[in-house]
Structures are given as C-alpha cells and as structure tokens.
Symmetry: C2
Subunit: 415 residues, 2 copies
C-alpha cells in the first residue's frame, strides 16, 4: 500500500471526525476547565429582586430632582433595610430608607443615593445633596440574566466566574463531558522502566512520562500502559486492551523503519482499521501514523521525544479538545507571543518546520533564540519556551524578523 | 486610624514578603505545574552512551570521504547492532554495522550513514554513496546533559518535557513546594448556601465558588469554609480556625462600609496583626483589605464578584505564585493579546481602571468590545474574555486604539 505524506491541514481535517466522549454529572466545585455537554438555560431571574449596589438611602428618584449642595432635598427616614430580609414598609413620596450594598430595594423606591451625598439632619430626617436618576445604584431584578436566557452554549469550557454563575443559580451538580482517556504505550527494546539502571544501549522511558503530563495539561486522563517490546504479539495485545478501555491510543517509539512498519502491521490486524495518515509533511514529526479503529483514533508517534512533542502540540492538542467536546477545538488553542528572531534559520521547502526557541526580554522587547539540536535530545525541549513555524512555502526565516512563538505555557518573565 | 489608599505597585510590593510554603516529595507523574524547591543537578551523563539518531550503518566517517553516487565507497558488513544491547564487535577500518535509530554506536564507528544512501551489494558488502562527517547522525554521550550540570533552578514550574527529563534521569520522586492552601470565608447576612432557595432579599453564595475555582486555576488548594454571618464572634472564630490550617485566608463579602469595618475589627483582634492595605487605587476592587497575621496574609475582598475577580487577577495571582515558590511570581503571569478597542471608554484619573472586554475576530483582526455593567453583576465577567487596564494617568481609551487584553484564559477563536 502506498501512502502519500499528508499536509498538516489534511491531518487536522481527518482528526475532526472523532469525539466527543460521553457525559457525567459532577458537583460544580469540580467543573473548572470542564466542558458543558448541553446548553444551560436560566431557570430564574438573576438577581431575583432589585438590589442596591451601594451603601446609602433608597429613595424615589423624583424626590431628588434638582437637589444639590446648595439646595438639598429633605427626606423623611422610614427605617432601614435589613440584609437578607424583605424590607419592612415601603418608600412613599418624600421618604427614604437606609440601605446597604446588596440590600433589597423597598417598594416605592427606584434609586439609591450614596451615603456620602446624605446628611443626617435629625433622627427622622436626612438631607440629600445630589440628584439621582431612576435605577441609579440599583441592580434590577433579572439584570444579570432573565428566566429563559441561554447562559452557556454546549461546548463551553467553564471558568471560575462561570462556575460562580452556576452556583448563583443553585445548580449543585451539572452534566459535562467526561475527560478523554488516553492509553499510552511506549515501545522499544532499548527502553527500560525509570526505576531501573540502564545497561549499555538502554535508556529510561522518557516518552510515557512526557506524554502523560501532556495529557494532564490538556485536561485528559493518561492511562500509562507501561513499556512494550518491539514484538507484534505484545504490541497487539496491549493495543487491544487499551482500545477497550480508553478513548484513544498513543503508541510512542518506533523511530526506526522496522518498528514503524510493525506498528502499522499491528494496526492493520484490527478489523475495519482505516489508515488515515502515514507520514506528515512537518519536521520534526514526519513519521507519524494515525489510524481509525472503530470510532477511536490510534496514533503511532515518533520515538524522538521532540518530534513526539511537536506532533502533540500541533495535532493532539486540538484532537483532545475535540474529544473533550470543546466548542472551538480546532481554533487557535495556542497562546502566541510576537518576538524578534535572533538568528537566520534555514528550512527545507515542502514541509512545515517547527523550530524550538527560547525567549528572552531585552530592553522591553522579546527575542526568540532558536534552540538547535537533534530531535532525539530532550534538552532542546527543556531549554525552549515554544515553537516557531516556518511555513512549507518559505525557505527560512531571517534574523531580525518578527515571528509568532507558540508557547508551551504562559511565558513568565523576570520582573 | 487613617489609611491612605495604596497604589497597585505598593500593594504588589507588600505581597512579596509572603511564602513560599513548605515542601513535599511526590511521584514525578504528579508534578505537572508543580514548583521545584531546590535546584536539580544531573547525576549522570544523558544519554549514557552514543546513539544513532537515524536508521542506517555505523561507520568510520573517514571511510566515506569522497563517496558519491558516481563513486561509492564499498564497506564490509560487520553485523548488526541489536537495540538495547551493547554492540557485538567493533567497526574497524573499511567496515560498517547495521544500526537502527536509538541503537548504541559500536566501538570504532564515529558516524551513521542513513539507510537511503546505502545499497546492499552482496551479503557481506554495502556501497555508500554519500560522505558523512564525524558525529553525523550521532547523539553523543552527554549531549543532552552532562553529569554535574544544573538542569533546573529552584522555583522552576515543571512542564511535560521537564517531567520527561526527570524520568530519563531515573528520578521517581521529587521534592516540590506544597500547593498553597487558601481558606475561603464568604460573609453576608443575605448570602445562603447554593442548595437553598433564596427568600426575598437573599442570594446564593457565588463568591465562594468563584474564588475556589480561581484557586484551582492558580494551582492552589481552596478550603471552602462556607458562609459566615456578619457577626464579629462568628467571623473571628472562623478566621482563627482557617489561620491555623491554611496558608492564607480570603474573606469575601463586606461591600458595605459596616461589614468592612467589622472585618478590620476582626483582624485587629489578632495579636501582632499588621494592616498592610486598606483600599487600593483601582476600580473595581478599591475596598480591599490586606493584613499580616503572623506570617500569613489575610485578605478582605470586595463583595461584588467582579471586583473580587479583578483583585484576584491582579494581586492574588502573583501572591499565590509567590506562596507556591515560583521563580517569576511577580513577573508577567498574564497572557495578553493585542486587540483594537471598539468603543471609547472614559476613566477617572487617580486610579487604575480595569474594564472587562469581550474579544471578537473579524477579518483576521481581533477587536475588544467593552462589557459595561455594575461590578455586582456576574454576567459582566461571564461575557468577558479578559481585562484591559486604563492607567491612572489617562483619562480613558479611544475607539480604534490598540489595547492589551489580559486574558482570563487562552482565547479560543472559531475556525
């Protein structure tokens, strides 16, 4: 079978068919960064009554018209609004009621005069030195949301204030998409568990840990299946078991042609398997395999850790967002910063190059220094703050050029 | 006692004295976003042996000098390097050994010729049509890190690749700062638990949930102490209990002058209490109180949820980063995007104004639409994507002006 290397755009397109996963109902205190699997409609007006947004006096705004320092309005004190209770009595013409921030606006009143514009004349009378407009310093019933309003769309990723709103509406539990479960298999006869001392030719398992943490960062649940020898039977057995229990399978390792071929053979042994991608026109990351088995995507990721991470940043991020049911899964999920490139970088045409860069601030400007080095070196990732893309139609980038840096995480500069 | 309203810079300065919290040792699989409490020194060369970064033949580079398509070099096949094992034999002059990506470079060899430049002539001989330089396609022993290298500084926040490196070095557990524990008390006679139906004048507890989720987002552990009436004894008792068990206390509510005064009185009742801040020159968020009790900071946050969130974004973010031991706690921890302001916004001078804005993309440009509304409305936060600062020396911002938007979270646009 012959497979043409796919463009990144083709690969992203082929990943859009997956997900979302199932739903679960959880307490709202656990819903940060979780994704709504249905729209939420407001079931009551919020707030449910008109409230004061200031400390002051609830009044009829008409009674203050024309009031000023030199010509204050005199109003009769008709009591005080107690917090958390319905006001006792109402504000009739010429009257005022003391009210605190958050207090319920009494009947008859339509505005609040701030405390600093009022003076006590005697126990029964205040003078008001300022005109207030109707609804001034008042949060009206339903000003936040009205009964029937759609407050969140399906696919919304919940932030602290969104959770606050759910709390305000009395929703104790809510239905969200589950977190996607990612089965991770690390292959390679040379790879050993991290608690062992490598003998000659052996290295510890870096990729499982890097990819697991990447999953956590993306809001997914990594299921670390441990190591797998370069052996058809063992890999097939592991893959089958992960396919049963996880929403996607990531097989890492296999940078050598032999192992890559075996990975494809393992995938082909599953009924109805469809090979979607066998090679991507990017560097690093070209030797990536993507297959559909049933409704699940299986990835054969490059063994070189930097290659695997580039593939993860560019393709697995939006893929996981799609599995998680996020509304804008394939939108711009990367934070980017503009920086000035510090060196010329050459690039082969015909593929998108992703160079790792380190950011530095000098004189208030941000500079991006390419981190050169083989993609088998993890140090190149550890030293880098992000990636710069060199489009496949360009032959490189120039020193001094403005570039957009896709950040591995928000950039924190020294003060 | 008279307190001058402080500038945001003064407030940030006063928050630098707190933290970091204690340390704990945890498995590296749990260290994403955790902070190293000491530097990490590399205890072995990484990789521990020279490896091939390509599939091909391990050779003496000298033997390929001058080799080309028209004049290939002929080398004698001296076996194959088995993955994960020490090569059997060595590569003497005129010889080559088959090697896969990640395989150990055999003695005598100093380079690898890629498979595609080699042809099998017979069982014992290959022809090489390309010259390789010494170390070409070789990852040398210690190329990633050398024994004794400082690989991470104290205060580093761990990313997936950093955890991968720790795995590669065989570190199964590692010492990090604990997550700061934040005790949250929500006050107000009008506030009721979210599982209750509000009567007239009552509202459900929004702030505890918003602030708890904010803590989680910042990598802290919220300890939700529930509601507290506007009552000196009750508030003091709760505050005392939280001070015992948490690293900082946040008392939310008290937008009215009376409750704010009571919060100060409660704080003053603790021995050695030092009132650091009583009012900040920002809007919203002015009525913020910060005290030091022992070695802990206690915050009296505004009751209006939008005010509390602005204070959280501007001050509690770096404060928590400092408690967590992050190296650049008070650096630029916000992600910002440049956008074009869609409307004029006026601002009072003498205070930094933070307006909430909604982002939209049109024709490839990003626009920021101000979300107007009282700071008691949570809808203004829910509709907004971030904040735009209007410096206290400016009288406003103009429509069409470029502004920097501090994002509540990474902005995800529609495709």
């Amino acid at each position: 079978m012959f497979f043409k290397v796919k463009t990144p755009e083709e690969v992203l397109e082929s990943l859009k068919g997956f997900g979302p996963v199932g739903a679960e109902t959880i307490p709202i205190s656990e819903t940060l960064d979780r994704v709504l699997n249905r729209e939420i409609v407001c079931e009551e007006d919020m707030p449910g009554f008109s409230r004061s947004s200031m400390d002051g006096y609830a009044v009829r705004s008409k009674d203050t018209f024309g009031a000023s320092d030199s010509l204050p309005a005199f109003l009769e004190l008709a009591g005080e609004v107690v917090m958390g209770r319905e006001p006792e009595g109402s504000v009739d013409q010429g009257k005022a009621m003391r009210i605190s921030t958050g207090g319920m606006i009494p009947e008859g009143a339509d505005a609040v005069v701030m405390l600093e514009y009022c003076n006590s004349v005697d126990e029964k009378t205040i003078e008001v030195s300022r005109t207030v407009a109707p609804l001034e310093n008042v949060i009206g019933k339903g000003d936040d949301f009205r009964k029937g309003d759609v407050i969140f769309k399906k696919g919304t990723v919940l932030r602290p204030q969104d959770i606050g709103l759910l709390a305000g509406l009395g929703m104790q539990k809510i239905s969200v998409y589950q977190k996607p479960k990612v089965g991770i298999i690390s292959t390679g006869d040379e790879v050993i568990p991290i608690d062992q001392k490598p003998g000659p030719g052996q290295v510890r398992d870096i990729n499982s840990y890097t990819l697991s943490a990447f999953c956590l960062q993306a809001g997914a649940v990594p299921v670390n299946m441990g190591l797998c020898k370069d052996n058809f039977e063992e890999m097939r057995e592991k893959a089958a078991s992960v396919l049963d229990t996880c929403d996607t399978v990531w097989i890492s390792g296999g940078s050598s042609v032999g192992v890559r071929d075996m990975t494809v053979k393992v995938l082909e042994s599953f009924e109805g398997m469809e090979l979607l991608v066998h090679g991507i026109a990017i560097s690093p990351g070209k030797p990536t395999i993507i297959a559909r088995i049933g409704r699940k995507a299986v990835f054969g990721l490059p063994g070189h850790v930097a290659s695997a991470m580039v593939v993860a940043e560019i393709f697995l991020n939006p893929f996981l967002a799609g599995l998680a049911g996020k509304a804008f899964a394939f939108g711009n999920v990367h934070q980017s910063l503009q920086a000035v490139l510090e060196r010329n970088v050459e690039s082969a045409s015909g593929r998108d190059d992703y160079i790792r860069v380190k950011l530095r601030e000098r004189g208030g400007r941000l500079f991006a220094e390419p981190v050169f080095g083989k993609s088998g070196l993890i140090s190149t990732l550890v030293e880098a703050d992000g990636l710069v893309k060199i489009d496949r139609n360009r032959e490189g980038l120039y020193k001094g050029q403005a570039v957009s840096v896709m950040l591995f995480r928000p950039f924190e500069k020294e003060e």
